[in-house]
Amino acid sequence: MTHFESELAALKQKLLLMASHAESAVNNAIKALVDRDDDLARKVAEDDDKIDHLEQEVDAACIALLAKAPLATQLRLITSAMKIARDLERVGDEATTIARRSLDLSQEPQLKAYVDIPRMATMAMAMLNDALGAFVNGDTARARAVIPRDKDVDQLNKQLYRELASFMIEKPTTITRCLNLMTISKALERIADHAKNVAEDVVYLYEARDIRHLGATAA
């Protein structure tokens, strides 16, 4: 391994560290919501700084590496790393949003049993996990398989919106809670979008093919 290759390996490691922080942030935020655990929710919000800092570190490392004029796969790795870092940072932000809304929600009695939200979280996190696994192993088939699953999460989000809208119409005292849950649902839908972005970056990284904006069939 050349010195440059070991620097690239370190960059990958830093991205994976970021990913592990982002994943646990989302998992903890959902756990805080379901368990009505305010301490855990506050911890998620506080820990977001770590992810933000890692994004800056990844970007700074990428700039330094780009100055060395890398080419081909190495060039694509560095540019993809910057994009993946941004997506992971946003995942962290969404986790913070979920945590903050959980704090609001725990001020009032629980509106209903949470079924769809944990299910959406599981789907979105599985997408992110697969996209990152594909990144680590260079498995573009696995990355491609992530992309159509975004539609399923969108579907659940829309379904939840309709359901929460009907709650609000029936009983205006639930409006605050419903709006908070809608925000959480939207946050999970966005996390799935970020997972999809990462998957598209992984295909670009390993195949040099830009599959964004092609629609599910063409990808």
Binding site: T2, S20, H53, A69
Partner: protein
């Protein structure tokens, strides 16, 4: 998961702390060099840190090679050259009257653009300097020949033909032999004047990798025309223009955010 400690300076997230804390080894104070009446170096002040790679860049004729040659007094060999100011290595003025230039060049080795092996065997190219400096013991010389060739990442390629002529090696191998020859006498500093500019890309990669290995033991100052090479191998970069040191900073800084417009113009190829 261990807590992440945040760097104290939020702007600088990638500079290894060792780069900033390395001890100074070479100091130039107001160095000026004249060829006859023409002033080729203008009041240069610089401090070069030990066990790091420092690159000198700049357009042809900017004085970077001339300045490099001040550190082992190679300019003394040119007629009509006059140097003023101070050049210190480890705090000692290398232009002081009592300095033994041969001893100085033992401390400060040099590798040139064109590989220049002696017309002798591979073995003798390395043994020559040792014998010159008084080593007679054959097993000791054998040991240094091997360790130097290993240090220059050449051993595996030549171990079966140590006694054949060095001139039969490829250009890249000859250059690594010259590096082996330089490190055999254990200098503190290795000056390199465009060591890879005559080599193909693969041989260049080997030399660059070698330089990154060598900095664990030696202080390296390298003149290069290849800016990407400077970014790949050096920790600090000095930009020279018409005999002046325009900017000297961390390599990452020079190539991503230079302070001076002239540096920006040069590294972006807008110069001249």
């Amino acid at each position: 998961m261990a807590a992440i400690t945040l760097p104290s300076d939020p702007v600088d997230l990638v500079t290894p702390p060792g780069l900033l804390s390395a001890a100074p080894l070479i100091e130039a104070k107001n160095v000026e060099l004249f060829y006859g009446s023409s002033r080729a170096l203008k009041g240069i002040d610089i401090t070069i840190k030990e066990k790091l790679v420092t690159a000198f860049i700049g357009p042809s004729g900017c004085g970077k090679s001339t300045f490099l040659r001040c550190f082992n007094r190679m300019n003394d060999l040119i007629d009509n050259v006059r140097i003023t100011g101070q050049c210190l290595i480890g705090g000692e003025d290398i232009y002081a009257k009592d300095v033994d230039v041969i001893e100085l060049r033992k401390r400060v080795g040099m590798v040139f653009q064109r590989s220049n092996p002696f017309p002798k065997s591979i073995y003798d190219n390395i043994a020559y300097g040792l014998r010159l400096h008084g080593t007679k013991d054959k097993s000791e010389i054998d040991g240094v020949v091997e360790s130097s060739l290993r240090g220059a990442a050449l051993w595996d390629e030549v171990k079966d033909r140590l006694h054949s002529s060095a001139l039969g090696l490829s250009g890249g191998q000859q250059q690594r032999l010259c590096i082996a020859r330089a490190i055999a006498i254990r200098p503190e500093i290795i000056l390199m004047d465009e060591p890879a500019s005559a080599l193909d890309p693969l041989a260049t990669v080997k030399i660059e990798e070698l330089i990154l290995e060598l900095k664990k033991e030696f202080t390296i100052v390298i003149v290069t025309h290849n800016m990407q090479q400077a970014t790949r191998i050096s920790d600090y970069t000095a930009f020279f223009y018409i005999g002046e040191l325009i900017e000297y900073d961390l390599t990452t800084k020079i190539f991503t955010n230079p302070a001076k417009k002239q540096t920006e113009d040069y590294v972006t190829g807008r110069f001249g």
